[in-house]
C-alpha cells in the first residue's frame, strides 16, 4: 500500500517489517525520526521488541553486539559524529560475525558543524567489515533494510550492514513509498536463529584472545563472508523481486551503460538526479550512462572491471573527501579499472560536500567536461566542483 513518507519513516517501517527484536537508540540529527517512530511502534505493540535508550552511539552498537550474540535480531541508527564514535565497535561487530543492520543517515563531519548530506562518515567506515548500501530513494531505503537482514544473516555471510540514507535529501523528504505486507515479508525473511549464541547453561566464551598463530584464519574467514555477500546480495535481491515485484539494480546499478561512451559513477540521492540528466543528454544525441554504486562494500570489482573495458571515459563523483590522492570511490573504481584490458580515461569530481546541492545543471556540466576529457585527457585528475574561489563556474 503506497503512502507518502520520509526516508526516515521508510527505515522505521523496514525495521518493523523485519521484526527487529532489540533496538538500541541514541538520537542524532537527522536520524531522530527513525528512533522516534520505532519507539511508537514498540509502545503501541505494533513491534514486539525491546527498546534500549542508550547513552551514546558507542553504547548503541555495544548493546546490539551483546543482544545479537544472545540470538536477537538487532537494529540501531545513527549519523556522522555518532557513526564515527562507533568505529571501534563497528569493527567488533564484524569481527564477531554478527549480522547487525543499521541505518546511517550520511551527514557531514564536524568541524565545521554541518547537519547536511556528505558521505565522509560512511566512507570512513569502509575498512570496518560492514557492508555499505547507498540508497537513492525512500523505497530503496525500506526495501534494502529488509534485504540486508536476509543477506547478513545468510550462513556463508554473517556480517553486518549499514543502509546509507542521505541527510535530508532522503531522511526528511516525503515521497510515495510502498509498504509491503507483513506476511509477505515474513515469508521472505524468516526469524533470526543463529547456530551459535550465548545462552545460560552453555559455558562458552565469545570473543576470546587469539595468538598470532591463529588470528589470520579468523580474519580470512571474515573476508570470505564479504566475498560471499557479493553473490548472495544479487540472489536475495532477485528473490525479493519475485515476491515484491521490484528491485534496485544489484550492487552496481547500471543505467543506459550498454552503449555508453561516457559514464558517471556516483552513489546516493545524486544518482537519482543523474538518471534524469542522462535521459536529457541522451535525448540530445550523446551516449552517456550512469553507474550507481549501490554497494561500496562488498565492492563491485568485477562489474567495474567489465564496464571499464568498454567505455571511453568514467567520471567518478565523490560526495566526500578523504585526504588521499583522490576521492575514495574514485581510487577504488580506478583500481578495478586498472586490471581491465582496455582502460578508460578517468576523472574524479569532488562535489556536494556539507549539503552543497548538486543540481541537474552541475551534473550536465560534469558530463560535458568528461566528454571533452575522455577525448583529450584531463590536466588534473581530481577537480573540486562548485567551490567559491576556483576559476570554473558550475552554477
Amino acid at each position: 500500500m503506497r503512502s507518502v513518507m520520509t526516508g526516515n519513516y521508510a527505515s522505521a517501517y523496514g525495521v518493523k517489517l523485519s521484526r527487529a527484536e532489540v533496538i538500541a537508540a541514541y538520537p542524532i540529527t537527522p536520524q531522530t525520526s527513525i528512533v522516534e517512530k520505532l519507539a511508537e511502534f514498540v509502545a503501541s505493540g505494533e513491534l514486539n521488541a525491546k527498546y534500549i535508550p542508550v547513552e551514546s552511539e558507542h553504547s548503541a552498537m555495544a548493546a546490539c553486539i551483546a543482544a545479537e550474540t544472545a540470538g536477537a535480531r538487532t537494529y540501531t541508527a545513527t549519523s556522522s559524529q555518532g557513526l564515527t564514535l562507533m568505529h571501534e565497535v563497528l569493527i567488533w561487530a564484524s569481527g564477531a560475525r554478527l549480522p547487525i543492520v543499521m541505518t546511517n543517515v550520511a551527514r557531514a563531519m564536524a568541524p565545521p558543524w554541518s547537519v547536511w548530506v556528505d558521505h565522509m562518515d560512511s566512507i570512513a567506515q569502509r575498512d570496518t567489515g560492514w557492508m555499505e548500501f547507498f540508497c537513492q530513494d525512500n523505497q530503496e531505503v525500506l526495501d534494502t533494510t529488509i534485504i540486508a537482514y536476509k543477506v547478513c544473516e545468510s550462513a556463508g555471510v554473517m556480517l553486518p550492514a549499514m543502509i546509507i540514507e542521505d541527510a535530508f535529501i532522503l531522511s526528511h523528504t516525503s515521497e510515495p513509498v510502498d509498504v509491503p505486507d507483513q506476511q509477505l515479508v515474513d515469508s521472505f525473511l524468516p526469524a533470526y536463529s543463529p547456530e551459535l549464541k550465548i545462552e545460560p547453561g552453555k559455558a562458552m566464551g565469545f570473543g576470546s584472545l587469539v595468538k598470532p598463530d591463529q588470528y589470520m584464519e579468523f580474519r580470512y574467514k571474515a573476508m570470505l563472508g564479504m566475498r560471499e555477500a557479493h553473490d548472495r546480495y544479487l540472489r536475495v535481491e532477485q528473490q525479493f523481486k519475485s515476491i515484491f515485484g521490484r528491485e534496485h539494480g544489484g550492487l552496481l546499478d547500471r543505467y543506459r551503460c550498454a552503449d555508453a561512451e561516457v559514464v558517471l559513477v556516483c552513489a546516493g540521492s545524486v544518482a537519482s538526479t543523474a538518471r534524469e540528466v542522462v535521459d536529457a543528454i541522451r535525448a540530445k544525441g550523446s551516449k552517456v550512462g550512469l553507474a550507481r554504486i549501490k554497494a561500496f562494500r562488498p565492492f563491485p570489482q568485477e562489474e567495474f572491471k567489465e564496464l571499464a573495458s568498454r567505455v571511453e571515459g568514467m567520471a567518478v563523483l565523490d560526495r566526500s573527501y578523504t585526504f588521499g590522492a583522490a576521492g575514495a570511490m574514485f581510487s577504488e573504481v580506478k583500481a578495478a579499472a586498472y586490471s581491465s584490458h582496455r582502460r578508460p580515461v578517468m576523472k574524479n569530481y569532488i562535489a556536494g560536500l556539507g549539503g552543497r546541492d548538486i543540481t541537474p545543471k552541475i551534473l550536465e556540466r560534469i558530463f560535458a567536461d568528461m566528454m571533452v576529457v575522455s577525448k583529450r585527457g584531463a590536466e588534473d585528475e581530481v577537480e573540486w566542483v562548485d567551490v567559491a574561489g576556483l576559476p570554473r563556474r558550475w552554477r
Binding site: 560475525r97 551459535l196 552453555k202 570473543g207 584464519e217 579468523f218 570470505l224
Partner: protein, 90 residues
C-alpha cells in the same frame, strides 16, 4: 598447531576448560601439607585463588598441576600445617 580456517568457528568461541594450561609450572615455592597438624578448618581451600586445593576428609590435597605457589594457604593456615618449600627441594 594452527587450525585451518575451515575448522575454526566464525569468531573465537572458547569452550574447552582452561585446565589445558598447566600453571603449576609457574611455581617457585611449593606448599607442603602436614596432615597430622591439620584442623580441617577449610581456610586453605577457601582462600586459594586458583581453586587448586581439594579437601579429602577435610584435609587439603594440593593440585600441583595448577598451584602457582602464591603461599596464601600457608600464610592463612591457623594451624601453620602448610609450609612453603623451594621448588625442587623435598
Amino acid at each position: 598447531m594452527t587450525k585451518s580456517y575451515e575448522e575454526i568457528p566464525l569468531t573465537p568461541i572458547s569452550d574447552s576448560p582452561s585446565t589445558i594450561t598447566i600453571t603449576g609450572l609457574w611455581r617457585v615455592m611449593r606448599p607442603v601439607v602436614d596432615p597430622k597438624k591439620c584442623k580441617k578448618c577449610t581456610v586453605c581451600w577457601k582462600f586459594c585463588p586458583d581453586a587448586a586445593i581439594k579437601l579429602v576428609d577435610g584435609v587439603p590435597l594440593i593440585d600441583l598441576q595448577y598451584c602457582k605457589g602464591c603461599g596464601i594457604c600457608s600464610f592463612e593456615c591457623p594451624a601453620k600445617c602448610i609450609v612453603m618449600v623451594k621448588e625442587g627441594e623435598k
